[in-house]
C-alpha cells in the first residue's frame, strides 16, 4: 500500500529561522512537516497536527499526560524533539479506536470509572496499551508499576487499575 506523503504547513516559523523537514507516521498516516529544530514532539502533535488528545501537564517528564507510543513504546512527548521522531511511528489516543468502535482499554476506563477530569486519561490509556501488548495477563502490581510514570490527581488510581485489568480480560477473550 502506498501512502501519499503530504507536505503540510503546520507551524508558523518567522522568515530566516531554519527548519527541518521530517516525516512521521502518526496513527498509521504518513505526515511530512517542516519544523523548527527546537519544536517539541508534544507541541507538533498538539498544535501542528491538531491532535489535542495528547496533553501537556508538566513539561518536565513527570506527569505522563503527554504519553504517546513511539514505535510501540510509551514515551513522554514533552521531552522529545519533533526532529527526533523523523522516520518513526507515533500513536496517539486518536489512533486507539475508531469513532464508532472503541479499543477495549477505552471501554474499560469508562466501565470502571477510571477517569474524572480526563486530562491524564489519554496518557494512561497509552501506557496501559503498551503494557498489555507485552503482557496480556498482568497482575495488579504489574499494572501499578507500568502506570507509575503517569500521574492522576482525580481518581486515586484504584479504578484505573481496575480499568486496565478489565481491558486485559476482554482482550484475552477476543484472542480466544
Amino acid at each position: 500500500m502506498t501512502m501519499t506523503s503530504l507536505y503540510e504547513e503546520v507551524t508558523q516559523v518567522p522568515d530566516g529561522v531554519p527548519t527541518r523537514r521530517v516525516t512521521i507516521t502518526v496513527n498509521g498516516q504518513k505526515r511530512t512537516v517542516d519544523v523548527e529544530p527546537r519544536l517539541l514532539l508534544a507541541h507538533l502533535i498538539r498544535q501542528g497536527l491538531k491532535l489535542t488528545g495528547t496533553h501537556t501537564g508538566c513539561d518536565t517528564t513527570n506527569c505522563g499526560a503527554c504519553t504517546v507510543l513511539f514505535d510501540g513504546r510509551p514515551i513522554k512527548s514533552c521531552t522529545m524533539l519533533a526532529v527526533q521522531a523523523d522516520g518513526h511511528k507515533v500513536e496517539t489516543v486518536e489512533g486507539m479506536g475508531t469513532a464508532s468502535e472503541l479499543h477495549p482499554i477505552q471501554e474499560g476506563f469508562k466501565e470502571e470509572h477510571g477517569l474524572q477530569c480526563g486530562f491524564c486519561t489519554p496518557g494512561m490509556m497509552l501506557a496501559a496499551k503498551a503494557l498489555l501488548e507485552k503482557n496480556p495477563n498482568p497482575t495488579e502490581d504489574e499494572v501499578r508499576w507500568a502506570l507509575s510514570g503517569n500521574l492522576c490527581r482525580c481518581t486515586g488510581y484504584q479504578n484505573i487499575v481496575k480499568a486496565v485489568l478489565w481491558a486485559a480480560d476482554k482482550m484475552r477473550d477476543q484472542q480466544a
Binding site: 496533553h55 470509572h113 503517569n150 490527581r153
Partner: protein, 792 residues
C-alpha cells in the same frame, strides 16, 4: 407501570459517565485545545526573587524579537488603572508589579507574540533591575517588629499582620479548663500544599472591537463570579462579557481565584485586537497560583477523668503570602476553622486566629476543602488522638464517649453551627469491625516479634459542606445560591443547564439522574451543559462540595416545577380535574384508574401542541436555590500501617473508609470522589508539601520536588457506606467531594503515631517522610515542621 428507576438511569444508578465518551477518545476540549483565528500567545515574566524593589525594567530587546506584538509591564496596566486588582478577601493584589515584587514568581511583565516559543524568547530578553530586600518566609519572622514591611503599598498598614480574629465563649472555656482533671495539649503545622490539578491555569481572551464583546475561555471553577468581577474591575458592561469555562483538567480549588494572567490576557486582547492565549507551565502554576493550608495550629482540651471533654481552646497562626487572596466566601477571617470539633459534644470552646503577610505566593484556596475545614479537622483528630493517649483511654472508646449521639440532632455546636443529622457511632463501629479492631493488639504484638511496628489510626469527623446559605456566605457581595434551568423539548427530551461547573465530578451524568428521578425522563434523554455565562443561569460555581448540596438541589426544584405544569397538562389531556391526578415515575394517571394515564413525554408534546385554554405554551423553567443550612456528611477513616524501624518507611496495610453522605445519586461516582480524596490525603500525609528557603525560593516548584503519589505508592482503599439523608436537601444528599481529603490525613498520621507510641513521641508534622519518622524513632522526640525563627 411506573418505570424502573435504575433502568432509566435515575437516582441510585451507577450510570456510566456521559462525559467519558469524549475524554476516552481524546476529544475533550480544554482551554489549551482551543485555537481561534489570528490568535496570539502570551508569556509572563516572573520575579526570580522573593522581595525586591524594582529599579528599572528594560523591554527594548524584547520588542525587537521578530513576531513580538506587544510587551506589557506594570506601567501598561497602571495606565488603565489595572496594575492592582481586588482579591476575593477584600485585599488588593498586584497584576503586574509596579513598585516591588513581593514573592518569587510574581508577575512582572508579559510578552504577546505570534507563537508561544517566540513569546518565551522575548520574555527572556527583558532586563529587570532589582534591589533585593530581606525576605520573610514564615509568620514568626513576620511578627518581628523589625521585619521589613511587605505591604508598604497599603496606606494604613504599619506591620505585616493581615488580621486578628476570634470566636467562641472565652469565659465559659476558661471555666471548663479550671474544672478539668486533665489538660491535653498539641501543637501542629499543616504545611503549605498546592492543589495542583494536572491541567494548569490559562485563558484565551477575545475582544471583538466590532461588537464590543469580550469572550474569555478560561480555567474557572466559577465563571459567573469572573464575569461579575470583570464587569466591576475592567468596567466593561456585564452583557458584553462572556466567560466560557470549557472542560477543566481538575480544579480542587486552584481554579477559583482570578489570577493576574487572566486579567493581563484580557487587556492584551483589547490592545492588540487579537485573541490572546495564555497557558501557564507547571512551575508557574505551582509558584504563583492559589496554595492551600500553611497554618500553625495549637490547642488544648479540658478533660474529665472519665474521658468527657469539657472544653476546647485553639489558636491558629496562618501564612497568607504577599496578598490576602484567600478564596473563601465566609464572613469569618479564617474560614470555617471553627467547624472543628463539630462532631463532638463540647460544651465550651474558644478560637483565636491571627493571619500574617509573608513573601510567598498568595491565594490561600480551599484545596479540596471548605475553607480551612481541612486544617480544622486535622487539628481535631490529632488532638483527640493525643488526648485519648494522655488519658490512657482506648482511641475508639474516647470517641464513643464524646461523639454527638443520634438522638441529639439538631445539635448546636459550641461555635454556633447547627449539625442536623448523622449516625456517628454506627459509622465508627462499621469501620472498626472492617479493620479488625478487636484483634489489632495481638497483631501488633506479633509484628513486633518480626521487628516491625504496627499502628492503627482513626479519624472521625463531620464537616460543613455546600456553601452556603445567603445569610452567611457571599462572594463580593453576591449571595451563595445556585441555579438550574430545564427545557423539555416537544419529544420529551431535555436540556439542563446549571450555574455550577464540573471539573471531573461528572455533573453531565449525575444532574440528568436527578431529573430522571423527578420526572421519569430517561437520563440518556437529557443533555447537561455548564460553564458558558451566555447560556447558563447565574450560579456561584463548583468548590466547597457545593454542587450537589446547592446546584443539585436547584436541579430537583426546577424538575418539580416542570412536573407541576405537566400535571395541569395531564389533567387537560385526561379530561379530569387536577386533584384527581396521581403521579408515578414517568406518568400521570387518573386516581382509581391506573390504566388511564399519560406519560411525561405525552405532556411535553401537548405543551407545544395542545395546551389547555389560558395556559402558556412550552415546558421550561428555572430555579434558584438558597439552602437553609450547610450539609453535614460524616466519615470514619481507619488506617493500619507498618513501619520498618530501620528506615522509617511506613506502608499502609489496610485503609477502611466509611462515608455517610446521605442519599447517593450515583454510587460509582461517589466512590470515585472518595478514592480520589483519600489519595490526596495520603499525598499530604506522606510526601506532598511546598516549602521555602531563607531567601524565599520556592522548593516544590515542579513535580521533581513537589511529590505526588503515583499508582505505585498509593494504597488500596476499602469503602463502606451508611446513609442518613440530609433533612433539608430536596433529595436528601450531602456533599462528598472533600470528605476524604479533609478527614483522611489524620487517619494516616494517627496510625503512624500509634506505631510510635512506645517511644513517647507525640507528634511528627506532615509530611511523614521516612527521614522524619526515622528521626522520631531514633531520638524519641517530636519532629516539628515548624521552621526555625531567624534571629532578628
Amino acid at each position: 407501570m411506573a418505570l424502573d428507576e435504575l433502568k432509566i438511569g435515575g437516582m441510585g444508578a451507577s450510570r456510566r459517565r456521559v462525559e467519558d465518551n469524549r475524554f476516552i477518545r481524546g476529544k475533550g476540549q480544554y482551554v489549551d485545545d482551543i485555537v481561534l483565528p489570528g490568535m496570539l500567545h502570551m508569556e509572563i515574566l516572573r520575579s526570580p526573587v522573593a522581595h525586591a524593589r524594582i529599579k528599572s525594567i528594560d523591554t527594548s530587546a524584547a520588542w525587537e524579537v521578530p513576531g513580538v506584538r506587544l510587551v506589557m509591564t506594570g506601567d501598561t496596566m497602571a495606565a488603565r488603572n489595572l496594575a492592582w486588582m481586588p482579591t476575593l478577601s477584600y485585599d488588593t493584589q498586584a497584576v503586574l508589579a509596579t513598585d516591588k515584587v513581593r514573592f518569587q514568581g510574581q508577575e512582572v511583565a508579559a510578552v504577546i507574540a505570534d507563537d508561544p516559543y517566540i513569546a518565551k524568547d522575548a520574555a527572556s530578553k527583558i532586563i529587570v533591575e532589582y534591589e533585593q530586600l530581606p525576605a520573610i518566609v514564615n509568620p514568626m519572622q513576620a511578627q518581628d517588629p523589625n521585619s521589613p514591611l511587605i505591604r508598604d503599598d497599603k496606606e494604613n498598614q504599619t506591620n505585616n499582620k493581615v488580621f486578628d480574629w476570634e470566636i467562641g465563649d472565652k469565659s465559659a472555656t476558661d471555666r471548663a479548663f479550671a474544672d478539668a482533671d486533665v489538660v491535653s495539649k498539641i501543637q501542629l503545622h499543616y504545611p503549605r500544599s498546592h492543589p495542583s490539578p494536572m491541567e494548569t491555569c490559562g485563558s484565551i481572551a477575545d475582544f471583538d472591537r466590532a461588537t464590543g464583546k469580550l469572550t474569555v475561555y478560561m480555567t474557572s471553577q466559577a465563571p459567573h463570579i469572573v464575569r461579575a468581577a470583570v464587569a466591576m474591575v475592567a468596567e466593561l458592561p456585564e452583557h458584553m462579557i462572556r466567560i466560557v469555562s470549557p472542560d477543566l483538567g481538575g480544579g480542587f480549588g486552584n481554579k477559583v481565584p482570578i489570577y493576574p494572567g487572566y486579567v493581563i490576557s484580557i487587556l492584551a486582547s483589547i490592545l492588540t485586537e487579537h485573541p490572546v492565549k495564555w497557558v501557564e507551565d507547571k512551575s508557574s502554576n505551582l509558584i504563583s497560583t492559589g496554595f492551600g493550608r500553611d497554618v500553625y495550629l495549637q490547642g488544648e482540651l479540658a478533660l474529665r477523668k472519665d474521658g468527657k471533654i469539657l472544653g476546647m481552646r485553639m489558636h491558629t497562626v496562618s501564612d497568607h503570602g504577599a496578598f490576602f487572596a484567600d478564596a473563601q466566601p465566609t464572613k469569618f477571617k479564617i474560614g470555617l476553622m471553627h467547624s472543628t470539633f463539630a462532631c463532638y459534644d463540647v460544651p465550651a470552646a474558644h478560637l483565636t486566629s491571627e493571619g500574617w503577610y509573608t513573601n510567598k505566593a498568595p491565594g490561600g484556596v480551599a484545596y479540596r476543602c471548605s475553607f480551612r475545614v481541612t486544617e480544622a479537622m486535622f487539628f481535631q483528630e490529632r488532638m483527640i488522638h493525643a488526648a485519648a493517649d494522655d488519658l490512657g483511654m482506648d482511641q475508639a472508646e474516647f470517641r464513643r464517649v464524646n461523639l454527638v449521639k443520634d438522638d441529639m440532632f439538631p445539635y448546636r455546636t459550641a461555635f454556633g453551627f447547627l449539625t442536623d443529622s448523622g449516625q456517628y457511632q454506627k459509622c465508627l463501629d462499621l469501620g472498626l469491625e472492617a479493620i479488625g479492631y478487636s484483634t489489632f493488639a495481638q497483631e501488633q504484638e506479633e509484628a513486633r516479634k518480626r521487628g516491625k511496628l504496627l499502628g492503627l489510626g482513626i479519624s472521625t469527623m463531620t464537616e460543613p459542606l455546600g456553601a452556603g446559605n445567603s445569610r452567611e456566605y457571599d462572594i463580593i457581595g453576591i449571595k451563595m445560591f445556585d441555579s438550574a434551568e430545564l427545557r423539555v423539548h416537544m419529544t420529551g427530551k431535555a436540556i439542563l443547564r446549571t450555574g455550577a461547573k464540573t471539573q471531573g465530578q461528572g455533573h453531565e451524568t449525575t444532574w440528568a439522574q436527578i431529573v430522571a428521578h423527578e420526572l421519569g425522563i430517561p437520563a440518556d434523554d437529557i443533555v447537561v451543559e455548564e460553564g458558558d455565562t451566555d447560556t447558563a443561569p447565574f450560579g456561584m460555581g463548583t468548590y466547597a462540595s457545593r454542587s450537589t448540596p446547592v446546584a443539585g438541589a436547584a436541579v430537583a426544584m426546577v424538575a418539580r416545577k416542570i412536573r407541576a405544569k405537566a400535571r395541569k397538562i395531564a389533567a387537560h389531556l385526561l379530561e379530569v380535574s387536577e386533584e384527581d391526578i396521581e403521579w408515578e415515575l414517568g406518568r400521570f394517571y387518573v386516581r382509581g384508574n391506573q390504566e388511564r394515564g399519560v406519560t411525561i413525554q405525552d405532556c411535553a408534546l401537548a405543551a407545544y401542541s395542545n395546551v389547555p385554554d389560558g395556559m402558556e405554551p412550552g415546558l421550561e423553567n428555572n430555579a434558584y436555590y438558597d439552602p437553609p443550612n450547610l450539609t453535614w456528611p460524616f466519615a470514619a477513616y481507619i488506617c493500619k500501617v507498618e513501619i520498618d524501624p530501620e528506615t522509617g518507611v511506613w506502608d499502609v496495610l489496610q485503609f477502611v473508609a466509611v462515608d455517610d453522605c446521605g442519599v447517593r445519586i450515583n454510587p460509582l461516582i461517589v466512590e470515585g470522589q472518595i478514592m480520589g480524596g483519600l489519595t490526596e490525603a495520603y499525598a499530604m500525609a506522606s510526601m506532598q508539601y511546598i516549602t521555602f528557603d531563607e531567601e524565599g525560593n520556592c522548593i516544590g516548584s515542579n513535580y521533581m520536588d513537589y511529590l505526588l503519589p503515583t499508582a505505585w505508592e498509593t494504597p488500596g482503599f476499602e469503602l463502606y457506606e451508611v446513609v442518613t439523608p440530609c433533612p433539608h436537601h430536596p433529595i436528601g444528599a450531602k456533599g462528598i467531594g472533600e470528605c476524604a481529603t479533609v478527614g483522611g490525613p489524620a487517619a494516616f498520621v494517627n496510625a503512624v503515631m500509634n506505631a510510635l507510641k512506645h517511644t513517647g513521641v507525640r507528634n511528627v508534622d506532615m509530611p511523614l517522610m521516612p527521614n522524619r519518622v526515622y528521626e522520631a524513632l531514633q531520638t524519641g522526640k517530636d519532629v516539628s515542621g515548624m521552621p526555625p525563627v531567624k534571629a532578628g
